[in-house]
């Protein structure tokens, strides 16, 4: 069904496409409201609503008498830098794992306070798939990843979400490395599933501190398994 979009949002997108999508560098000025109104064939009022939208999203800076300027978002570029740092093909497996411990523990805490019913549903599905996957390593891998990513997404913090996706490759590697152990000793795989389930319950019940503690323990245990698998 064709959703009817609000005009000011459509305009905001057009503005981004025309001016913020690379054609205008940070610090440069946009055309005046009156010019934009003519260009897009709408009233100044409507253009102003679109500009407000961009301002509230931190994309531009509006100054009375001055004009609208593309914001030099330290933070936006910071965000990209952070991703770059983490992305760097790092052979530093254990350092990465420490980063994951930091990120995922805090994610669990935040998720417990913010997860929507839809977020929780995703986590339940991942849990369920994992339980079904005792004989299927690939399904297990995917479900395991889905669970960890699902928690990050439940924080609704865009930086955490991007970072966890950046770390996906590393997580996959780690899981594969430890899978041999897990499948040799099925009870251990069961332990992992139980840990996930407990983390889920803590998040679903809104117990942030407990969720964080459990996730810390979980990743510490992964580290131990990784050490074993390398012996």
């Amino acid at each position: 069904m064709a959703e009817k979009k609000k005009t000011y949002l459509v305009l905001a997108d057009k503005l981004i496409e025309c001016y913020l999508g690379g054609n205008l560098k940070p610090g440069e000025r946009l055309p005046s409201e009156r010019e934009l109104a003519v260009q897009f064939n709408v009233s100044r009022t409507t253009i102003r609503e679109a500009l407000r939208t961009l301002e509230l999203n931190g994309l531009i800076d509006i100054r009375q008498g001055g004009g609208s300027y593309v914001k030099v978002s330290d933070i936006q570029s910071n965000k990209e830098e952070i991703i770059t740092v983490v992305k760097a093909e790092n052979p530093l497996v254990f350092e990465m794992l420490e980063l994951r411990r930091a990120l995922e523990a805090e994610s669990s805490f935040l998720a417990a306070n913010r997860a929507t019913p839809a977020d929780l549903e995703k986590l339940r599905i991942a849990l369920h798939n994992m339980a079904l996957s005792k004989q299927d390593p690939e399904l297990g891998l995917k479900a395991d990843l889905d669970f960890h990513i699902g928690i990050a997404e439940a924080t609704h913090n865009s930086i955490f979400i991007e970072l966890i996706h950046t770390l996906k490759g590393h997580m996959e590697e780690t899981i594969r490395a430890t899978q041999n152990h897990r499948f040799k000793d099925l009870s251990r795989y069961g332990d992992t599933i139980n840990e996930h389930r407990e983390i889920y319950l803590a998040i679903a019940s809104g117990n942030g501190d407990k969720a964080k503690e459990l996730m810390e323990g979980h990743i510490t245990k992964i580290r131990a398994e990784l050490v074993e698998s390398m012996i």
Copy 2:
């Protein structure tokens, strides 16, 4: 510093205070734009900008011909959260702070287990400079930064070290934003110094769990100060 706030943001706050601060339950309808314009003695245009702000922040739902309704909030949000959303100059500031909480808490934990005498010496110097800087904001800023960076370096985890340097700009911004409050109330600045000192002691004595807990509290407090400084 008497910042001149944009009218529509001020109005958005008033609307929250009058209607979303508990007096109106989720699902209930706000007065019409025309009524609100009369009530706050501004034009309908201005009221509309304020309502847009609330809509963009997901607090209300505006339906043509229907009216504006308080949204059933996805995330469990207390009043402070709401204020935060509306006030945030850059929506990513608080996301960044959450990232810092994750990184610096884990850093403190790791530092407590790995800090060398040289690492500890650096932290002591930063602490000392901070104590000396009650009258010198710039020195205080640098000492504050040095302390946080020093902890990351004491982890000897290259990823953490790179990340904290990437976040330096953001940290500086946050410290500056909260400095006004700190210097208005010197006892509060003393609190900050004491928090740093306690974190140092926990690290120096090898108590990782305590160091982590203290750092978490410290950054949570920074967040609260940041919220205050924006009101």
